[in-house]
Symmetry: C2
Subunit: 221 residues, 2 copies
DNA sequence: CGGAAACTTGATCGAATTCAAATAAGGTGG
DNA sequence: CCACCTTATTTGAATTCGATCAAGTTTCCG
């Protein structure tokens, strides 16, 4: 979530950049409580941050995509306070956490950038809180789609592939619903021509309809 | 949320402190989208941050009490991105926002303090997100009580009055339930001797029971 | 004493979950 | 290329949790 970081790689004295890497789909990248060692910036693909309870209940906090840092707040923390998993296969840039911290101390502007991303993330969490607390199932999904569509547009990304590579279980864990119920709501969307949805992913066709549903709450997109 | 700020008033050249003030109960302190002018540190009493939809739906984001800054993230923002209301009557210290921003620029340590409070708030929002997405009514209330009990203990506060001055509607807006349903859950708690609950407020008697209910999820207290 | 605000209670409704089974789509190795 | 296995999705029936609606209480406070 939030805008992309300034392009570290082009810096004169390459400070923290450690190279590129590819991560397979559906891999756990960070596990909650693990010490923070390196950070990634996503070049391509999708991932998500989540909390996991002992009994297996899972809540997705946010989705991550091209341009996103995984995860800004980890710069300041000893240990991760959430887990991260890749959705599709992931192209990332790897950064050394200690160097990044050093850069925070020395580079005023960089520090500001990171701070501002963290704040945006916090605000996003608060919007999500409203959705889970006060919206019904179709509204939650509508808002999620609107947000993702807007967010993906900003990250621009290679055109054409206008699809969210999300499974119904992902949507369920993000919206606080069950996979079965997500299936039913998506079906109703599909029947109205609001989304298209083969097994490769989900595509929004009728943003206007989604906006109408999502109306009333704070900034849905 | 988070630890108290260092005591501004005792600073040599009183920088941003503008005096004390009392705010009546159930007053709106900030309204979303208003420009940020001054910040308050609560000396006494309770308040809450919330989001409000056009249609009146409301979601409480967090409760604020003695020692809390209202609100750290506003230091960095042009405008408030949430509203704040007092619960009880409120004793506050008033700070000038411009001076605080200046202090952030000049005082490394202070800046760090503020940042760390913001991060704690963000993490708290994420824990709450799990609760709304993945917990049932009694669990949500149990966790809220545990959190408040822990939080209030840290703020220490004048002893004796071990009560949360919250109305059922407040609890409902914080947990994503209706007031009526909160009433029923509280009743079941009361019948088991878990809480006491006259019209002055709510008191937790059996933390152990609440912990048992809240089990399984991430850090409930 | 009267009236407003907060809480309780009961009946009914509805949204979403649960359980269980069927179907569809991919991927693999023969 | 097909049989087979795994994973994802659909579907239906029954159930449950929590919402809604509508009166009643209780408490507080002037």
């Amino acid at each position: 979530m939030g805008p992309a970081l300034p392009d570290e790689e082009k810096s004169d004295a390459p400070p923290a950049f450690q190279g590129r890497q590819t991560i397979e789909r559906r891999r756990t990248i960070y596990r909650e409580a693990e010490p923070v060692k390196r950070l990634y910036v996503i070049r391509e693909g999708w991932a998500f941050r989540f909390l996991l309870a002992q009994d297996g209940r899972r809540q997705i906090l946010s989705f991550l995509m091209a341009g996103d840092l995984i995860s800004p707040s980890s710069i300041f923390a000893e240990r991760h306070d959430f887990s991260v998993q890749s959705i599709s296969s992931l192209g990332v840039c790897v950064f050394d956490i200690r160097r990044l911290r050093e850069k925070c101390r020395t580079d005023e502007r960089f520090m500001q950038e990171v701070t501002s991303i963290c704040l945006a993330e916090k605000q996003h969490m608060e919007t999500r809180l409203f959705e889970l607390g006060r919206c019904r199932a179709d509204e939650r999904l509508a808002r999620l789609f609107l947000f993702l569509a807007g967010r993906r547009q900003k990250a621009s990304v290679e055109g054409g592939k206008d699809m969210f590579p999300l499974r119904q279980q992902d949507l369920a864990d993000a919206t606080g619903l069950t996979q079965v119920h997500v299936s039913r709501v998506l079906q109703s969307f599909r029947e109205r021509g609001v989304i298209d949805d083969n097994r490769k992913g989900i595509q929004v066709l009728d943003m206007q309809y989604l906006r109408r549903i999502a109306l009333g709450g704070p900034e849905a997109a």
